[in-house]
């Protein structure tokens, strides 16, 4: 058995937990509110050739699950892949989330449908004519007003062939890629300054569709529920992000995903200029 990167390592301890009864709730079980399936982009494994696989979440109306940073509450899905020996696996590609406002809180997650995909590469030594089993154990949380944890064991038998064709799930992968954050455009210039209460992000670009929404990759950097005010400045945009109450130390970099009105999403690594002396002295 081989596992993905350490992040994806198979934690055997969870198998003990699997034997425990699922939490009962008046809202029923998690799989009454979300349908999970294991899908692949191609219909067969080809030795040494990359294949995209993914967990498709079909979320029932009113229910949501979470992004890699869930925001103020909730928890992202965790996928443990179990792949045959010699397979290599990559990290989950997280489509950009939507903001889920809950009164004084804000979460980041997905409604309706989301595909969490990862690339795998079978070894060169794979023999045609055989079949290979791919297994995923998914731990997830679905929430409406209330939350229900769920777990799902999914497996798929894939034939090994000389060449592969697209599977019927191919359009799901195409659609999901549209929502993956891309590297920042080369002609954008971005920086941030740290004030007592805010990070002020300065983005220099010729044309920027509005409005924009910033999703932090890390918890404890910005206050999720605070409005994100943006103002147009010559040659770009200024975005005001309120600092998290949990942020205790200066950060060198603010990382996150910016989503434009067009639906395009970009991954940002924003260098943060530290506050001027007067501000640091305001700490007792």
């Amino acid at each position: 058995m081989n596992s993905f990167s350490p992040r994806f390592a198979v934690f055997l301890i969870w198998s003990v937990w699997l034997m425990l009864p699922t939490a009962a709730s008046s809202q029923g079980k998690a799989d009454e509110h979300a349908t999970l399936s294991l899908v692949t982009e191609q219909d067969a494994l080809v030795r040494g050739k990359q294949l995209w696989i993914g967990i498709l979440f079909d979320l029932h109306e009113g229910w949501h699950t979470y992004w890699t940073n869930p925001g103020d509450s909730g928890e992202p899905p965790r996928i443990e892949w179990q792949l045959p020996t010699g397979f290599q696996g990559g990290d989950i590609q997280w489509p950009h989330p939507v903001r889920l406002a809950l009164g004084s809180l804000a979460d980041y997650g997905y409604e309706d449908q989301v595909l969490l995909m990862a690339a795998i590469r079978p070894p060169e030594g794979l023999r045609e004519g055989e079949s290979t089993k791919i297994t995923a154990q998914v731990h997830y949380l679905v929430c409406h007003d209330v939350c229900i944890p769920g777990q799902k064991h999914l497996e798929l038998l894939l034939p090994v062939k000389m060449s592969a064709a697209f599977s019927s799930a191919r359009p799901l992968f195409v659609a999901a890629r549209q929502k993956l954050p891309r590297p920042m455009p080369w002609d954008w210039k971005i920086s941030a300054t740290s004030t007592t209460d805010e990070f002020v992000v300065n983005l220099k670009t010729d044309k920027l569709p509005k409005p924009v929404q910033f999703f932090p990759l890390h918890a404890e950097q910005i206050e999720n529920a605070a409005p994100q005010h943006s103002t147009e400045v010559p040659g770009g945009l200024r975005l005001h992000l309120k600092k998290s109450e949990h942020l205790r130390k200066p950060i060198a970099r603010l990382e996150g995903v910016i989503v434009l009105a067009s639906g395009d999403a970009y991954l940002l690594h924003i260098p943060v200029a530290q506050p001027r002396k007067a501000h640091t002295q305001s700490k007792n």
């Binding site: 301890i13 969870w14 003990v16 937990w17 425990l20 939490a23 709730s25 008046s26 103020d72 509450s73 909730g74 928890e75 809950l102 009164g103 004084s104 809180l105 979460d107 731990h139 949380l141 929430c143 007003d145 209330v146 939350c147 229900i148 944890p149 007592t196 209460d197 918890a219 404890e220 109450e245 949990h246 205790r248 305001s282 007792n284």
Partner: protein, 201 residues
């Protein structure tokens, strides 16, 4: 710098700090709430003692993780036996998950063998909003001088799985142990994890 300029600066800093509801290192704001036995509790009456605030919702799977495993009851017992005041706070609004009557809460505590100093009923969410309590559980620790020394998660593993408790670092116990030993709290804040507090909409 002239004297009046200094006073201006001081005034600015007071204004800045008043923007934050609660902040580790600042005085924990006082509140008054009724417990499940009809007794009123004020935070200020516990001046001179450590106080733990535990946000609670018995229908939330994250709360259930810590109660069905016995972890929360163990912490309550351990720390109250060392003189710590443990206040469980329920900020669910009527009709929302986790809202309980006083009798419901007393029945729950006896069934679960929970032993906080008191369970405070906060159906209007006043105490919750004063502290910006976000999740259940969300934990706060106040030191004997009335200063907030911890604000955040109960421990380091943000899951609903009981098996994770034994390998997680418990931030509440850590804050109490370090502070009682006269050391600074090494993790004074963390992202609280759990269900959102079910305030009135």
């Amino acid at each position: 710098m002239k004297h009046n300029q200094w006073w201006n600066l001081v005034a600015v800093f007071v204004l800045i700090s008043s923007c934050h509801a609660v902040k580790v290192g600042d005085s924990a704001p006082d509140f008054q709430a009724m417990d499940s036995n009809g007794r009123a509790h004020k935070l200020s009456q516990y001046h001179g003692k450590f106080v733990v605030l535990e946000w609670h919702n018995n229908g939330c799977p994250y709360t259930q993780k810590h109660y069905e495993s016995g972890n929360m009851q163990h912490l309550q017992k351990e720390w109250t036996s060392k003189g710590v005041v443990w206040l469980t706070v329920i900020s669910s609004a009527p009709g929302e998950q986790g809202y309980v009557s006083a009798q419901d809460e007393n029945d729950y505590m006896s069934k679960m063998k929970a032993s906080p100093t008191a369970a405070l009923l906060d159906p209007k969410g006043d105490v919750g909003k004063l502290y910006s309590a976000k999740t259940t559980p969300h934990m706060f620790v106040v030191n004997p001088a009335g200063v907030l020394i911890y604000d955040g998660a109960i421990d380091s593993k943000a899951t609903t799985e009981q098996a994770d408790i034994s390998t997680a670092k418990n931030y509440v116990s850590q804050a109490l142990e370090e502070s009682m030993a006269g050391r600074p709290v090494s993790t004074p804040t963390s992202r609280p994890y759990g269900c959102s507090v079910k305030y009135a909409h």
